[in-house]
């Protein structure tokens, strides 16, 4: 049997980085046994004249605070995390709108880490994660968990854009289990985000709404089959993750999402043994916003499909950057 020699320093095992494949510069390595590490609930923007959320963000003003979870279930007891006890947990409320409707307040939970970049080039997010609906009723629940996703929010000198991937697990109770990437359909501003203001202008005297491509995780029309105007299916992107056989057996999965901010392009998505080539695909570019220059935010979200709470657990996560490489040969993702 072939063997792989691994030269690892003892300290590398101690910190747990050996289960990641970071790029040259590690910006953050977050093991949630050491706290929430700056991951915080996404909150909307606020009006300038009163202490209230902008009208366009009212629907998204209950994205639920992340918590440190021991992954404790009624029959199993404490599952713990992949390494240690605690994981970052996102939890929806026990509610959901239909897959073809606007998301319902509380049915969608999102948290993020807010950074800025030092240079344009490759930007990578990695995490070990798992997901479940609440163990509060009979039924395995794999058809009640709608989706989770990973989203970059990047702004350079000209554009703001959102490279994002979404695992659509189920829509209206129908299991889908496939990956999608964010790229907005060419719709009007009004069709994308409604007539609502979401951000404050440069001079602070007026407010503006979101353009197509901004916040694709919730803007854009949604359809009963789980598709949206913000996302497209990844080619050969069907993947059956190990859900396990009950609502309380969790298995940890690896995800790696790589983009190139010097090209404003996707590069690849890896989940467990599968790698999806996304080179050459561009997210939707919107004109730059005031006040968020050199923005490098990474967000995670989870969506419920029924009135059953849905959870995303993250054992640990790494954000890293490196120089942009020359364009390599295209590789296809394998379908199962």
């Amino acid at each position: 049997m072939a063997t792989v020699s691994a030269k690892r320093s003892p300290s590398e095992y101690e910190v747990g980085l050996s289960k990641f494949r970071p790029l040259e510069r590690i910006l953050s390595y977050d093991d949630f046994d050491r706290g929430l590490n700056g991951w915080t609930e996404l909150t909307g923007n606020y009006q300038q004249g009163k202490m209230a959320v902008s009208p366009g963000h009212e629907r998204f003003s209950d994205l639920r605070p992340p918590m440190l979870s021991s992954a404790t279930f009624p029959f199993v007891g404490t599952h713990g995390s992949m390494s240690g006890i605690y994981s970052l947990k996102l939890a929806t409320r026990a509610r959901a709108a239909g897959a073809g409707e606007e998301i319902l307040r509380g049915s969608f939970s999102q948290c993020l880490k807010r950074l800025t970049f030092q240079e344009l080039g490759l930007v990578q997010f990695e995490m070990w994660f798992t997901y479940k609906p609440e163990a509060d009723r009979p039924g395995i629940g794999e058809d009640e968990f709608r989706a989770f996703g990973v989203l970059w929010d990047i702004q350079d000198d000209r554009y703001r854009y959102f490279p994002a991937v979404r695992y659509l697990n189920a829509a209206n109770g129908v299991v889908k289990q496939k990956w999608q990437f964010a790229q907005a359909k060419p719709v009007s501003d009004k069709a994308w985000a409604g007539n609502f203001d979401t951000s404050i202008s440069e001079d602070r005297k007026s407010a503006v709404g979101a353009k197509p491509g901004i916040d694709p995780q919730w803007f854009g029309r949604r359809y009963p089959d789980g598709s949206t105007e913000g996302f497209r299916d990844i080619a050969e992107g069907a993947q059956r993750l190990c859900y396990n056989e009950t609502f309380d057996k969790i298995n940890w999965h690896y995800l790696r999402f790589l983009v190139d901010s010097s090209r404003r392009e996707y590069v690849e998505l890896q989940c467990n043994e599968r790698t999806y080539d996304l080179r050459g695909i561009q997210p939707t570019l919107a004109d730059a916003y005031p006040r968020i220059w050199s923005l490098l935010n990474l967000a995670l979200w989870v969506e419920a499909d029924t009135n059953r709470r849905c959870f995303l657990f993250v054992d640990s996560a790494v954000i890293s950057t490196g120089p942009s490489s020359t364009r390599p040969t295209r590789r296809k993702g394998r379908s199962r």
Partner: protein, 111 residues
Amino acid sequence: MRQIHTAVLERFGRFSQDFATEPYEVGWAEEAIFFVKIEEVEGAEPTLTGQVQISHDGMTWIDEGTSLPLIRQTGVVFARVRHFGNWLRLSCRVSGRDVKFQGMISLCLKG
């Protein structure tokens, strides 16, 4: 150095009937304070009461024994608890005629 974390459980909340905050995992913490900040009150004879509750599974809840001070007007009240296991929530009752409270509920944890 110890960990500290404040989770906003209800933001710009509007409370016109009985409710409970969402389950929150607190197993890492040793002490907790629920803060309830009421910014607007409407209706006749408004009262808001709250009981701290604990749970072994995040789904089955029992009173811990600590109560919020009775709320009838705007202002801030708190309830302190220790030795609570893995889960905490605040179970609240709202009474009065055409009553609505508006405000925020935060959970400050240290451990």
